[in-house]
Structure formats: structure tokens, C-alpha cells
């Protein structure tokens, strides 16, 4: 049953194209809506069990021989994510039914979306890391397809490719990390890995494993410097941005980090990498968000920054930090989902997302404006919304994290709270920008492509639900504290958590930090025009986007240069490479592995006329080198062949000699015939350098083969099987000519297929000649 909730979206996705084709009048979204809703309700039914501290494990065998089973595991953490995926999924599908026009390729859209939903559920519910990885890559794929939904737009294709390359690069690294974990601990199961955590921590492969797995998590969760794909992913339709690129998929990296905390966390390496990268992402994302003018771009960078915030908390890894991380993750999904949907509504109704053109919409779109108010103020961390509570906890956690062991980066601890405040100030500023620049100020109706008005009611339902959660959780944190946050935090820290969230702690450092944020934030926002000049001072070339573009553009060019350099298309070059490689490989092996053997004892005496014959061969070969015309070269080559057949006669191999003679006669006359018809060409001028290399290579090849031939002749490790043939060719084979018996009997199979080769050659040549002629005749 649990497996069905992962597989059902995939199965239903198969039906979607048919629904789209045969029921085009109804928006396909309405057919899809029950799927996430049903799964959401089903998964919610696990909550009581989780409160009882029960864990649900269900296994279907997939590849047991490789230790890979489709095991699903429900605990507080996976259930929190699964509920986010399905409930927000329900809201997003509902929203999309109003947002997307019926003329769009809805079939594709919902297939991708369902694929994503199933895959994402698979990621958070899998106990087996390989299965997790399988679903992980599927989320990347469906994200790629959704970003490229409007495939004819150049920016969509660019964004899709970028997200795919970056997340899959991380995915591959993560796969290597997973396999390393297997190498260390001998299992892919997360539960079993947790039991072997001490072995893993002690292993010398710990650090590479950690880095590789974190690369996967960081790319997926858009951490600095891999965050660059997320803003470009905003080319996707807004429901997708709300769902994948803020509420769920980008949190997969956080999930992985949280899930593997019991396996990998607790070392300075972990603390430095996870918190360090997280805090940089927090500050940088928020800092850059202020510069953006597109609503969705601001939200994208804001998502980057908020993900960094949660990552920082997971890195710190204290009970308080983990609780704060889980709580903020939940809150972020609510307010950010709401904000994305509002941004979509603004885009839908006003026709633009450019904050320079927008303004004063509050009067025209009061509900949307209220929702935006809730969302942005929650994000800025202002009471009484949910964001305030989790941000206070964040400040508290960073404040108390100073005493942890930061290894060689000991200064990071004390700086952490300062950076947290800095990032939060930026967050405050862009939150205010989002709300005030869009909904307050003067309306510039003339600049808007459409005349804005409030969105249809259906489209408002989903953001209202999310906004309501932001308010309710803000007012009554105990609604989620014990029910959702505590079980999830427990699953990470492995110790029971008592979560109490309250507004007033007295004049504690966190409160002061919040006050600083609001004070300084308001000040800078007031002087925003001045502040924006800061960005102009940033060196443009240092941009990570440029780096990415540089690589993707330069890579084909550089590859082209390399490939073009050696792929000349000339047969002679290729032969030269091959022979050169051969002489290097064989020469090196011969020298390093030994085996050169000269032994003259076993040789027959050489008669004077044999010297003469060999001298003729040598002369003929040199004639070929210096021949000015093809005919001379061919005839010289013929001479070599005929002299070799003479040698065969001397060595008493008449059948070989006959064969050789026939072959030589036929091939020489054929060559002569063919060359007679070829145009008379001047001998090609070859550069001296090329010539030198060619001589070197051919000389080396000649020497090496002579050496190997000598040595092979002189190295007889075993008695050959030839004796058997001599003994048995008459007795068993019934023939006195041993060669004949070998050819037709002992090794008759060879002969049969050599004949086949000849037949094929004949047919081939016949076809080549005839088919050519008919083509010419056309």
C-alpha cells in the first residue's frame, strides 16, 4: 500500500495523455487532482503511528543480489517531507487548473508533474540509498522537462539544460559517495548505515565520501556556488516554481543532509562544510535578491538564501538547530509557496513581473495583496507570522553554536551569528521590496500589458490556504511543534525532542538580533537607491553564471580544437598514429617486461644463394621507397613477393610457394591494370618533418617486429601440438599430406568459413560494381 503511493503517480501519468486526447474539454488538472489528494490523506493517516514513536517499514525486493531493495521507511522526517510533497502538490495542481490555459500542452505538463511527485516521494521514503538515487535523478529529469515546458523559448531551453547539468553533476558525485559508503560499510540501507556510523567516521574514506554526498545535496538544494541554476529554472510555469523550485525538490538536498546526519555528522569537516556553505548561501542569495527586478527572480534568490539558512542549521546539528531547521523548512514551504502563487497571479493578471512597472496593486487586488503581506512579513521574520518564530530559533542556534569544534576554521563559530544577522537584514530588505514595490506606491497602469484585477476565486484558494497556515502557525506554534516538528527532529538527532516554541524569552541575544535586523533593514530600505550602487561596484567577471556559460560555451570549442587537431581525415595520418602507438606500446613492453631472446644454436646454415635472395628483397624494398612512379613501385613489390615464394621452395613448402606465386601474380597484374586507368599524379610533396617522423615510425615498427619474431622463435615454453598432427594425419585423418589434412579435417571449420569469406567478397564486389553503375545511369 505504501509502495502504491510512490508508484501511483507514475501509473496515473501513463493515463494522462489519453485523458487529454479524449476529454479535451475538461482541464486535465481536474483529473489529476484526486491523485495527490488521496495520497496526502493516506499518508496523513500515518501521523498517529509516528506520535506513538512507531516506524513503518515496507520492503519489495528489487535487486536483492546487489543489496538493492525497494524499502520504504516512514519516520518523522520522511513523513514531514511526504506530507509537504502531497499536500502542497494538491494545492499546486488546483492552482494550475486555473493558471494554465487549456490550449497549453497540459498532457505533457501533468505527466511531468506526476512523475516528479512520485519520484520525490520515492526520494524521501526510500531507505535504500541506490533507490533514493534512482528517484533523485528522476526528480532532476522531471524538473528538466518542466523547466523546458515552453520548449520553443530559448531561455527555457537554456534554463532546463543548466539545471540538468548542474544537478546531475551533483547526482553523479553523490552516486560515487553512495558507493563509497557501500565500500566502507557493506550496505546501501540507511538504517544499517546508521548502526555502522562509527565505522564510517573512522574510515579514511570518510572525507571523500562526505564531500561527494554533500556535492549531491548542495547542487540539488542550490547552495553556493551551485545555486546559479535556480534563477534560470524560473522559466518554468509558476505552479512548477512554487512546487519544485521552492517547496519540495530543492529541499531534497536538505532532506539528504538531515537523513544522513546520524551517519556522517558530528565532525569539524561536516560543520565547516555544511554550515559554511549554508551561511555563505544565505548571505549571498539574499544580497543578490535585492538587485533583481523580476518578482520570480527575487523569489528564486530568496529561496536560495532560505535554503542556505536551513543548511546552516543542519550543519550546526545541535538539538536546537535541528528543530529550528525542521520548523523553518515547514514554514518556508508555506510562505514561499504562497508568495510564488501570488507572483503567478500578478503575472497572470497584470501581464508582467517587473517590479519597476508594478506598483499600487493593493487597491486592485486586495486579497492577493493581503496574502503577499503575510508571506513577505513571515519571510522577513516579523511577528506574528510563522517566520518570526523559526528565525528567532535560528538566531538562537547560531548564537549558541560558537562553542562547537570548527577544526581549522575556528573563527567561523563567533562569526556565524553576525553573518546570520547580515543575511537576515538583506532578507528583510527584499521582503519589503517584494511587497511595497508591487502592491504599494503609485500605480503605473500605462506600463502594464494588461489591466490588472483580482484573480478568479479558484486561483486564490491555494495561496489562501498556505497564507492561513503561515498565520495560524505563527499564532499557535504548538499546532505543529509536537505533532510534526518534534518527530522530524527526533529522526535526525535520534533522541526524543521536547519542542516548545514561544514568543517571549526575555531580552535574549536572539531578540536583539531580530531588532538589529529590523532596524538596519528599515534604514537601508529607506535609502535603497543608494544601496543599489553597491552592486555596480561588483566585478562583472566574477559572476558564477559567467563561469557556467564560459564552460558550456568554451567546452565545445576547445573540444573541437582538440578533435580537429588529430582527426585530420587522412588515412596516412591515422596509420602513422596507429603504428606509432604500436611501436611505443610494444617497444616499452618488450624492454620493461623482458623476453628478447637471441639464440643461434638451433639455426640451419645459411647458403650463399640465400644471402643473395635476401639481398634482392632488401633492394626491391628500397626501390619501392624511392620509386617515382606507381608502376615501378608495384613491380618492385611483386619482386619481393616472388623472392619470398622462392624462399618457400628452398624451405620445402611447395604448396605455400604455389599459393604465394598465384597471389603475387594476380595482385600485381590487378594493380597494374587499375593503375593504368588512374590519372597520372605527381608524387606528393611531404614536409621534411613529417617525412622524418614517418621514417622513425616505420623503422621502429620494423625493428620491433623483427625482435619479437626472433624472440618468439627462440622462446619455446611448451611442446607444440604439431606432433599430434604429424602422428595422426594418416592414422586418423587418412591423408599423407599433413597440411591438407589439417586444412580440411583437423581445422576444417576454419577452411569452411574462409571459403565463406571469399564468397562474401565476391558478392560484395559484384554489388559494388553493379550498384555503382546503375546509380550512374540514373
Amino acid at each position: 500500500m505504501l509502495h502504491l503511493s510512490v508508484i501511483a503517480p507514475f501509473l496515473f501519468a501513463i493515463l494522462v495523455p489519453f485523458l487529454r486526447r479524449y476529454l479535451p474539454q475538461t482541464h486535465t488538472g481536474w483529473f489529476v487532482l484526486p491523485i495527490p489528494l488521496t495520497i496526502a490523506i493516506y499518508l496523513s493517516s500515518f501521523l498517529p503511528q509516528i506520535w506513538q514513536d512507531e516506524k513503518i517499514i515496507r520492503t519489495i525486493e528489487w535487486i536483492p543480489s546487489l543489496g538493492i531493495n525497494f524499502t520504504l521507511f516512514v519516520d518523522g522526517l520522511s513523513l514531514l517531507f511526504a506530507l509537504l510533497i502531497t499536500w502542497i502538490g494538491t494545492l499546486v495542481v488546483l492552482y494550475s487548473a486555473y493558471y494554465l490555459d487549456k490550449k497549453e500542452a497540459l498532457g505533457n505538463f501533468y505527466v511531468y508533474l506526476l512523475m516528479f511527485m512520485g519520484a520525490m516521494l520515492g526520494v524521501v521514503l526510500s531507505d535504500n540509498l541506490v533507490v533514493l538515487y534512482v528517484f533523485w535523478e528522476l526528480t532532476s529529469l522531471s524538473s528538466f522537462l518542466l523547466i523546458g515546458f515552453w520548449y520553443y523559448r530559448e531561455r527555457s531551453v537554456y534554463g532546463a539544460q543548466k539545471s540538468m547539468l548542474i544537478t546531475m553533476a551533483g547526482g553523479f558525485a553523490m552516486l560515487a559517495g553512495i558507493v563509497l559508503l557501500y565500500v566502507i560499510a557493506g550496505t546501501f540501507s540507511i538504517r544499517e548505515l546508521i548502526e555502522k556510523a562509527d565505522v564510517i567516521m573512522a574510515s579514511e574514506l570518510y572525507l571523500p565520501t562526505l564531500i561527494l554526498i554533500l556535492l549531491g545535496a548542495f547542487t540539488k538544494s542550490a547552495q553556493f556556488p551551485f545555486h546559479v541554476w535556480l534563477p534560470d529554472a524560473m522559466e518554468a510555469p509558476t505552479p512548477v516554481s512554487a512546487y519544485l523550485h521552492s517547496a519540495t525538490m530543492v529541499k531534497a538536498g536538505l532532506y539528504l543532509v538531515a537523513r544522513l546526519t546520524p551517519v556522517l555528522a558530528g565532525t569539524p569537516d561536516w560543520l565547516i562544510m555544511v554550515s559554511g556553505v549554508g551561511i555563505i548561501t544565505l548571505v549571498w542569495g539574499a544580497f543578490i535578491a535585492i538587485r533583481q527586478t523580476d518578482l520570480k527572480a527575487i523569489l528564486a534568490f530568496s529561496t536560495v538564501s532560505q535554503l542556505g539558512l536551513i543548511m546552516t542549521l543542519l550543519g550546526i546539528g545541535t538539538d536546537l538547530a535541528v528543530t529550528a531547521a525542521v520548523f523553518h523548512l515547514f514554514n518556508h514551504s508555506a510562505f514561499k509557496g504562497c508568495l510564488f502563487m501570488v507572483a503567478g497571479i500578478v503575472d497572470h493578471e497584470a501581464g508582467t513581473r517587473d517590479i519597476r512597472k508594478l506598483g499600487g496593486l493593493a487597491a486592485l487586488m486586495p486579497i492577493s495583496a493581503t496574502l503577499a503581506f503575510i508571506g513577505t512579513f513571515a519571510m522577513a521574520g516579523i511577528p506574528p507570522f510563522n517566520g518570526f518564530l523559526s528565525k528567532e530559533m535560528f538566531f538562537d542556534a547560531t548564537w549558541k553554536a560558537g562553542g562547537l569544534d570548527y577544526g581549522f576554521l575556528s573563527w567561523l563559530g563567533p562569526v556565524l551569528p553576525a553573518l546570520a544577522v547580515l543575511g537576515s537584514i538583506f532578507t528583510f530588505i527584499y521582503s519589503m521590496m517584494l511587497f511595497f514595490k508591487t502592491f504599494k506606491g503609485s500605480t503605473k497602469l500605462d506600463q502594464l500589458p494588461k489591466k490588472p484585477h483580482e484573480a478568479p476565486k479558484g486561483m486564490l484558494i491555494s495561496p489562501i490556504v498556505l497564507g492561513a497556515i503561515a498565520v495560524l502557525v505563527g499564532l499557535f506554534p504548538s499546532l505543529v511543534a509536537g505533532t510534526i516538528v518534534a518527530p522530524a527532529a527526533e529522526a535526525v538527532t535520534l533522541v526524543p525532542q521536547e519542542v516548545k516554541i514561544s514568543y517571549w524569552h526575555g531580552f535574549t541575544p536572539p531578540l536583539l538580533m531580530t531588532l538589529t535586523v529590523v532596524g538596519l533593514g528599515t534604514l537601508i530600505y529607506w535609502k535603497l537607491a543608494g544601496w543599489l550602487k553597491v552592486y555596480a561596484a561588483l566585478p562583472e567577471t566574477l559572476s558564477i553564471n559567467r563561469f557556467y556559460d564560459g564552460i558550456t560555451n568554451y567546452l565545445p570549442v576547445a573540444s573541437g580544437k582538440i578533435t580537429g587537431w588529430y582527426m585530420t581525415g587522412s588515412l596516412r595520418d591515422y596509420l602513422a598514429y596507429i603504428l606509432a602507438a604500436m611501436s611505443l606500446i610494444l617497444g616499452f613492453t618488450l624492454l620493461s617486461q623482458g623476453g628478447i631472446a637471441f639464440d643461434y644454436t638451433n639455426l640451419a646454415p645459411i647458403a650463399p644463394y640465400e644471402y643473395l635472395l635476401v639481398a634482392i628483397i632488401v633492394l626491391a624494398v628500397f626501390t619501392i621507397f624511392f620509386a617515382q612512379s606507381r608502376l615501378v613501385a608495384i613491380i618492385a613489390l611483386g619482386i619481393v613477393g616472388f623472392v619470398v615464394s622462392l624462399l618457400f621452395i628452398i624451405f620445402r613448402a611447395p604448396d605455400l610457394a604455389l599459393t604465394q606465386m598465384i597471389v603475387e601474380t594476380v595482385s600485381v597484374s590487378l594493380f597494374l591494370l587499375a593503375f593504368y586507368h588512374l590519372p597520372e599524379l605527381k608524387k606528393e610533396e611531404v614536409k621534411p618533418r613529417t617525412k622524418f617522423i614517418n621514417i622513425l615510425v616505420s623503422g621502429a615498427i620494423g625493428i620491433i617486429f623483427a625482435l619479437v619474431a626472433f624472440s618468439a622463435h627462440n622462446t619455446k615454453l611448451f611442446e607444440t601440438i604439431a606432433g599430434y598432427y604429424l602422428e595422426n594425419s594418416y592414422k586418423l585423418g587418412g591423408g599423407k599430406n599433413v597440411v591438407n589434412v589439417i586444412l580440411v579435417d583437423f581445422r576444417g571449420l576454419d577452411t569452411m568459413f574462409e571459403i565463406t569469406v571469399l564468397a562474401i567478397a565476391a558478392l560484395g564486389i559484384y554489388g559494388l560494381i553493379k550498384l555503382r553503375l546503375t546509380k550512374k545511369g540514373e
Binding site: Y151, L575, V708, G764
Partner: protein, 493 residues
């Protein structure tokens, strides 16, 4: 003694021969071809099952006892590859029905196809190193005939290179066999395995091993011997290119795996370390070529090269897991490369060009083709749950388990670049704006897609159904790393 072993060679041979006489009658030709391919395929499946359940089967040709006669040996590896070769050949055959015109059919296109299959199956099944050469010749001669088939200018230009280089490698093959015979005095692979183990692979045997490496590496298109491949494989029509891409290089890989696991496996510190280097360089240079190109056929052809590197990586690491990975990857690659070449052919047909710069937006009118291509591309990269993933997982597991870290790193980086290079075809060809000039004249994909859909379905099955296939592959790998089973089956009295 078992006659079952020779039928995978005889069935395509007989089919080919009978097709020669049916050249005038198209219907008869096609029906015989279909029948022959199906019989051959099902027989191969039957044989694979027999071998898996009943152990290695051996036929001593003409009943001459090994090592004096020629042994045909069906172990799990050989039969698995025979099955895969039959699958690929069958798909290419059906695809050919639509794209090979009547004139070409009359000039023995189908017989060549079956002779090629004869050679390939023979190469997999033989247990004699000289006989391997003979089957190489059968296969090569058919490939020569197929590559010039139709005689267009680029075909003639590329086939001269192809033939010249292969003739060179054939000559080297004979020389290598000669040297080996001189030193060890036998040609039977099982006997070679015994004797080289006894001699502890000293001195000159290593040079001979390297000579065999060069011979097979030329066929398999390994660095630094792959230069002939990208041109030759992008010249002939799609089904022929698919056949070459799916089968020919893999015969080279098979031979390397056979020779460097059973026979030359006693100086691995030298030979197999060398193989790992070669594997890394092959992957890198192959993928660099693919990344650079904007020609659909060239991109695919260079990808053959880089994929070959993955298999040799498994061989070089030389553990049971890594060899299993190499075999799994090889089977996957045979199927998916054939599918990609066939789909590439369809893409070129509908777009009227192989140049990606001139394509765009094909998915609008050809969604099925687009999604098939997408799936095949994803499988090629090794993204789960398609077939490429299992092989890659095993390869990585083998390499990391053996402490070969840098080659793992290279292989994963190369995977990413493979993704970049094949997705280029999808992004530029299927996505993007439709180029208006192409809308006018567009070919049809009628009848071209189902053979490839079949191949892709098999790929999906290979991925999801790993549990079903893996025991075969594992047994194959075990029979290679511990050749005693093979040796005993062949040399037993």
C-alpha cells in the same frame, strides 16, 4: 560434445545463403529474412537458457579432441552476447525493410546482414584463437560489403580508410597468433589459459599479449587506435551504422575481455594497469569528440568510443564485480547504441539534415520520435532506472572497491559530458524553435519507430529487471575470473 553450440552460427549462415538465391523476389526475401532472424533469436535464447542451467556446452568440431581440433564453447558470456547480437540484428533488419530501397535489396543487402551475424556469433562462440581470426574475417568481409553499399561518395571515401585499417589489423592478428603459437605451441583458448598460467606469463608473453591488445583495440576503437571509427560509422545508412555501432566494436571488446581474463591474466600489475589508463583516455577522447560535434551521426559515433572506455575500465579493474559491470554495460550498450543510431537515422530523415544547427522544434510534429530519443539518451548516460545504470553502478562499485579512485572520477565526469553531448541533439533538434524551411519537406517515420521502441523497451527491462538478468551476468563474470570451469569443459577427456 554438443551440437547445440554450432547452430547460432549455422542458422544465419544458411539464411544468408538462401537469401542469395531469392534476390529477385522481394516478398520471399523478406519473409525468409524475418523467419531466419526469429529462428536465430529464439534459438539463441534457448541456448542461453541451456547454458545457464546446464553449464558450459562444448562442441569439438569434427570430433577432434581439444586442443588439436577446433572447439566451439558456449559459456554464459558467449551466449548472452549471441542473444544480444541477435536482438540488435533483428531490430536493424526490420528497420532496413523501410529504408533500404529495392535496388539495394537486389544486391545482397540481406545476405550480408546475415553473414555479419554469422561472423559475430562465431566470434563469440569459438574457443580457438585462430578460429576467432576466421570469424573476424567473416564479419569484416560482410562489413566491408555493407559499408560501401550504395557507393555514395562519402561511403567510398570512408570505406577505403576502414578497409585499409582493418586489413592492417587482420595482418597483425595473424602475426600475433603466429608468435603466440611459437611460444606456447597451441591455439586452443582453454589450453592457452592452462599453459600461460603455468608459464606465469613471463617475458615475451607480455609483448604478445600487448600485440593482441592492439589487434582487438583496433576493432574495439580504443585510444589511441580509434581514429578510423567516427568517419566510417557515420557514412553508411542508419541500419548499417546501427549494426556496426551495436555489434562490431563489441566483438573487439569481447575478445579483449576473453583474452585478458582467461589467458593473459597473470601479470595484471602491468597489463591491467595499462588497460585502465587506456580506458580513461578512451573515454575522455571519445567524449571530447562528441561534445565538439554538431552532427547527429558524429555525436553518436564518438559516443561509441567513450562507451567502449567504460567496458575496458571494468576489465582493467579486474574483479568479479567490475567484470560483471563491464559485461552488463556492454549488453546495454549494444542495444542502446543500435537504438540511438536507428533513431538518429529517423531524426535525419525527418529533419532532412544531420546538422543540429539547422534543426529545431521537431518534437512538435514527431513527439514519439522525440520521447524515444530522449529515453534512449537518458539510458545511454546511465540515468536510472534504465539499463545503463546497473552497468555503471557495478563498474563504479568494482572500481571503488578495488581502490581505483581516479578512474571512477574520470568515468563520472565523462558521464556528465556524455549527457551534455547527447542532450544537445534533444535540445537543438527537438526543442527550440522550428526552422521554417524544414516544415516544407519532411520525411516520415512510419515503420521506423517500432524496432527502436522494442530495443528501448528491452533497455528498460534490463534496468528494472536487473534481478532477472544479473545472475546470468554474474555467472558469466565468475566463469571468466575463475576459468577452471571453462578449461575443464573444453579439455576434459
Amino acid at each position: 560434445m554438443n551440437n547445440l553450440v554450432i547452430w547460432p552460427i549455422i542458422i544465419p549462415l544458411l539464411t544468408g545463403i538462401s537469401l542469395i538465391f531469392l534476390q529477385k523476389n522481394r516478398v520471399a526475401q523478406k519473409s525468409v529474412a524475418v523467419m531466419g532472424s526469429l529462428i536465430s533469436l529464439f534459438y539463441a535464447l534457448f541456448l542461453a537458457y541451456q547454458v545457464k542451467t546446464g553449464g558450459i556446452l562444448v562442441l569439438q568440431a569434427s570430433a577432434w579432441q581439444a586442443p588439436f581440433g577446433i572447439s566451439l564453447v558456449a559459456d554464459v558470456l558467449a551466449t548472452l552476447l549471441v542473444v544480444t547480437a541477435n536482438v540488435v540484428a533483428t531490430a536493424c533488419l526490420y528497420y532496413s525493410f523501410k529504408v533500404i530501397d529495392r535496388k539495394q535489396e537486389q544486391f545482397y543487402y540481406y545476405p550480408f546482414l546475415f553473414f555479419l551475424l554469422t561472423g559475430v556469433s562465431g566470434a563469440f562462440l569459438t574457443g580457438d584463437i585462430f578460429n576467432l581470426f576466421v570469424f573476424f574475417e567473416v564479419m569484416l568481409m560482410s562489413s566491408y560489403a555493407l559499408i560501401v553499399f550504395g557507393g555514395t561518395k562519402p561511403q567510398l571515401r570512408e570505406s577505403v580508410k576502414y578497409i585499409a585499417i582493418n586489413v592492417l589489423s587482420s595482418a597483425l592478428f595473424v602475426m600475433a597468433v603466429g608468435y603466440l603459437y611459437s611460444v606456447v605451441g597451441t591455439l586452443n583458448m582453454a589450453d592457452l589459459a592452462v599453459k600461460i598460467k603455468e608459464a606465469n606469463q613471463v617475458g615475451l608473453l607480455n609483448t604478445v599479449a600487448m600485440l593482441f591488445f592492439i589487434v582487438f583495440a583496433l576493432k574495439a576503437a580504443l585510444f589511441p587506435l580509434f581514429f578510423w571509427l567516427p568517419g566510417s560509422y557515420s557514412a553508411p545508412p542508419a541500419p548499417i551504422a546501427a549494426l556496426f555501432g551495436g555489434l562490431l566494436t563489441k566483438v573487439g571488446i569481447y575478445s579483449l575481455i576473453r583474452v585478458f581474463t582467461m589467458i593473459f591474466a597473470y601479470n595484471t600489475g602491468y597489463t591491467h594497469t595499462f588497460l585502465i589508463w587506456v580506458a580513461g583516455l578512451t573515454m575522455v577522447f571519445g567524449v571530447i569528440g562528441a561534445v565538439a560535434s554538431m552532427d547527429v551521426r558524429k555525436i553518436l559515433a564518438y559516443n561509441i568510443v567513450s562507451a567502449v572506455g567504460f567496458m575496458i575500465m571494468g576489465l582493467g579493474v579486474f574483479t568479479t564485480v567490475s567484470i560483471a559491470g563491464a559485461i552488463y554495460y556492454m549488453i546495454h550498450d549494444m542495444i542502446i547504441k543500435a537504438a540511438l543510431f536507428l533513431l538518429g537515422g529517423a531524426v535525419i530523415t525527418v529533419a532532412g539534415t544531420a546538422n543540429l544547427n539547422k534543426m529545431g522544434g521537431l518534437i512538435k510534429n514527431h513527439p514519439t520520435l522525440g520521447w524515444l530519443f530522449f529515453t534512449a539518451a537518458v539510458a545511454l548516460v546511465g540515468i536510472p532506472p534504465l539499463s545503463g545504470f546497473t552497468g555503471k553502478l557495478l563498474l563504479i562499485q568494482g572500481a571503488l572497491g578495488a581502490g581505483q579512485y581516479w578512474i571512477t572520477g574520470i568515468s563520472l565526469t565523462v558521464s556528465l559530458l556524455i549527457l551534455f553531448s547527447v542532450m544537445k541533439i534533444f535540445l537543438y533538434g527537438f526543442w527550440g524553435e522550428a526552422k521554417t524551411s524544414l516544415q516544407v519537406k519532411q520525411g516520415s517515420t512510419k515503420g521506423l519507430l517500432w524496432p527502436t521502441a522494442l530495443l528501448i523497451a528491452i533497455s528498460l527491462f534490463l534496468g528494472l529487471g536487473t534481478e532477472f538478468f544479473y545472475p546470468y551476468v554474474e555467472t558469466a563474470a565468475q566463469q571468466l575470473t575463475d576459468p577452471s570451469d571453462y578449461i575443464n569443459s573444453v579439455l576434459k577427456e
